[in-house]
Amino acid sequence: MTLTTTRLLRCAAASLLLMLMLTAVARAQSPSGTVYVSSEKDDALTMIDLATLTVKGTIPTCKRGRHLQLTPERKLMLACSDSGVADLIDPASGQSMRHIPLGDDPEAFDLSPDGKTLYVSSEDDAAVVFIDIASGKRLREVKVGQEPEGVKVSVDGKLLYVTSEVASLVHAIDIASGKVVANIKVGKRPRRMAITPDGKELWVTCELDAGVTIVSTATHAVLANLKFEVKGARAQDITPVGIALARDGKRAFVALGRANHVAFVDVAARKVTDLVLVGKRAWNVALDKDEKRLFVVNGLSDDLSVIDVPAAKAIKTVPVGRVPYGVVVVE
């Protein structure tokens, strides 16, 4: 070994050490995690690195994946309309673990608090189907209004709320008996729902009413109708769909569809505090763990907007798959 090679080796070792140290520093400063985005036309999830906000890869999935949700075991569950299954994906390996049959044209779903039962809206059959996840068996089917969409389980796991887009109703279903216990008339074309952390209020986005209907979970009475206004957009262009609530229940984030904005709402005051411009047809939304960043799927511009929540400003747009739909953050 000559002197030069030894020097070179030493130099290389030193720079390697430096690189490792730098990476460690970077890890400590920025969050590590992944944002998963489903897209209707790619049969894949796009993975975005939370630290760099760049696409780091894709995971092949079942066909026409739409609603995406984390299970209590922190696995990804994706409902596929064309395949009629839920794809259970392990985020650690990036591999599909199994398919759970959901029937024809499943739309959205929710899980029981113990993660054992899945409740899925079946658009074609105008029904909600209860499925035992372990066995994949259909436990029950409850008929509801046409084009059921959003599905939400109450905080205590006893009631199931389902929106019917055509009937403009939210059906409250007693899970134990499978009976519809209330039909709540909400705004036109109800889509998605969120429940406040105290379990008292159900927020329902109404796509053709430019608003959110707020329902009392105790009485099933409508408490308020919140209407959105965006400067330069007419009411008919404000089509809210996606909704997320902050963990403390103080703020709601509502994607306004074709108005291309996300509204930040003060939950107690029922007032819009900020409007953030994003991409085309803002669809579903998700927060990171610190609630510093909000990820917004833009259905008609095939991208994801990243919003800095404290600044109420979009800081980056990341191109994702064709007709993106759902978004989940895993940290």
Binding site: D105, K143, Q146, E147, S164, V166, L169, K188, R189, R234
Partner: protein, 387 residues
């Protein structure tokens, strides 16, 4: 003792009936008997913009869709059908419907018959089948509402699409029938409204007679001028079908072939439209056409009225009707224009295979509602009858 118990039961059932008090909203659909539009050969051609089957299919789908909603509201709708052989029998059917307690009359009839029905009764009339502009303009009626887009709306949608592509020089080919002449006037008005340029208007004739070849041969008909697109007005559809790819210049065809503006197409992919088209084709085993959409919207209008006021009465429904909004799976809530009773709506531009674009085109501005860039707008004051 036994008798008393029976009496109580009877009383209870009377109370029950009164408590529910579901007043049935009755509607009568009047369509032509032995409808020539539904002859097998015509249906097989599946010309864009022509009926694909009976209008009742669409209305019934809307009522079936709403089963849950009607039940939840304690409302009920009964649809009856009355085929009409002539304008007189259409009128008689409408009068019979009114006497029978109908709240609304639905028509899938030619313009003259539609007017006869509207003039024979004091009920609101929903027009599902006549796209004629005169029913929205000089011959409008205060209680006559239109679900199907007017010819002007369709022409405006095409003109907007041409504007968005900057295909501004147009060659207009017009068929020989009276509707062709009226629709050509609508096309010319839209060309003017959107600042397009008409390089020539030429009549065509469906013929293989060598002596008439200047009127019938697409190559000869489209020669001698430069243009960006050929706009063909052919109500029958047979000539237009053979026009694309047979023009002397490699230019697109629009109007009644090539790119066509319609209320609906079964391949529309947005706003929950595939679910509607799928439900329709599942129910009646054929694709959902624009006419079926208009019929479906009429059914949805009935549902909106019945669920908003389950107890009626007919007069309350008639009053609520002009302010009713409906969801047509086209992304916006749809309402009726106050000045001519036309349902305002986005239109789809299709080549028959898919939906190429929608109108109003993006970027178009209007002082109150961008949907009113399609068809007769309020300031034109073309409908003089008070509403």
């Amino acid at each position: 003792m036994r008798r008393a118990a029976l009496l109580v039961f009877a009383l209870a059932s009377v109370v029950d009936a009164a408590g529910a008090a579901a007043v049935t909203l009755k509607a009568t659909l009047i369509g032509p008997q032995d409808d020539p539009r539904l002859e097998r050969a015509r249906l097989e051609r599946a010309t864009l913009g022509h009926p694909g089957g009976p209008a009742a299919d669409g209305v019934q789908l809307a009522l079936a869709d709403a089963g849950f909603e009607l039940e939840a509201a304690g409302a009920a709708i009964a649809l009856s059908q009355a085929p009409a052989r002539s304008v007189e029998s259409a009128r008689a059917a409408a009068i019979a419907a009114e006497k029978g307690g109908a709240a609304l009359v639905l028509t899938d009839l030619p313009a003259d018959w539609t007017l006869a029905v509207a003039d024979a009764v004091t009920l609101p009339v929903l027009n599902l089948g006549a796209p004629d502009d005169r029913l929205r303009q000089q011959d409008c009626r205060p209680r006559l509402l239109h679900l199907l887009p007017s010819e002007r709306m369709r022409a405006d949608a095409i003109a907007q699409a041409l504007v968005s592509r900057k295909w501004s020089k147009l060659l207009l080919l017009v068929g020989p029938s009276a509707p062709d002449q009226q629709r050509a006037a609508a096309a010319q008005a839209s060309i003017k409204r959107y600042g397009l340029q008409l390089v020539d208007t030429r009549p065509f004739k469906l013929s293989t007679d060598p002596r008439e070849r200047a009127l019938a041969n697409p190559l000869l008909l489209t020669a001698g001028q430069n243009y960006d697109a050929v706009w063909v007005v052919d109500t029958d559809g047979e000539f237009a079908r053979g026009l694309p790819y047979r023009t002397v210049l490699p230019r697109p065809v629009v109007g009644d072939a090539g790119l066509v503006a319609l209320a609906w197409h079964a391949q529309f992919e947005r706003y929950g439209a595939p679910q509607v088209s799928r439900r329709f084709s599942k129910a009646v085993k054929r694709p959902m056409t624009d006419r079926d959409w208009a019929a479906w919207m009429a059914g949805k209008t009935l549902v909106a009225l019945a669920t908003a006021a389950p107890k009626g009465p007919n007069t309350a429904w008639a009053q609520a009707l002009p302010r009713t909004t409906v969801d047509g799976a086209k992304g916006v809530a749809l309402s009726f224009r106050a000045w001519d009773g036309q349902l305002r709506q986005p239109l789809l531009l299709t080549d028959g295979q898919g939906v190429v674009a929608t109108a109003p085109i993006e970027g178009l501005l209007h002082p109150s509602d961008v949907l009113d860039t399609l068809g007769a707008d309020a300031p034109e004051k073309l409908c003089k009858s008070a509403r």
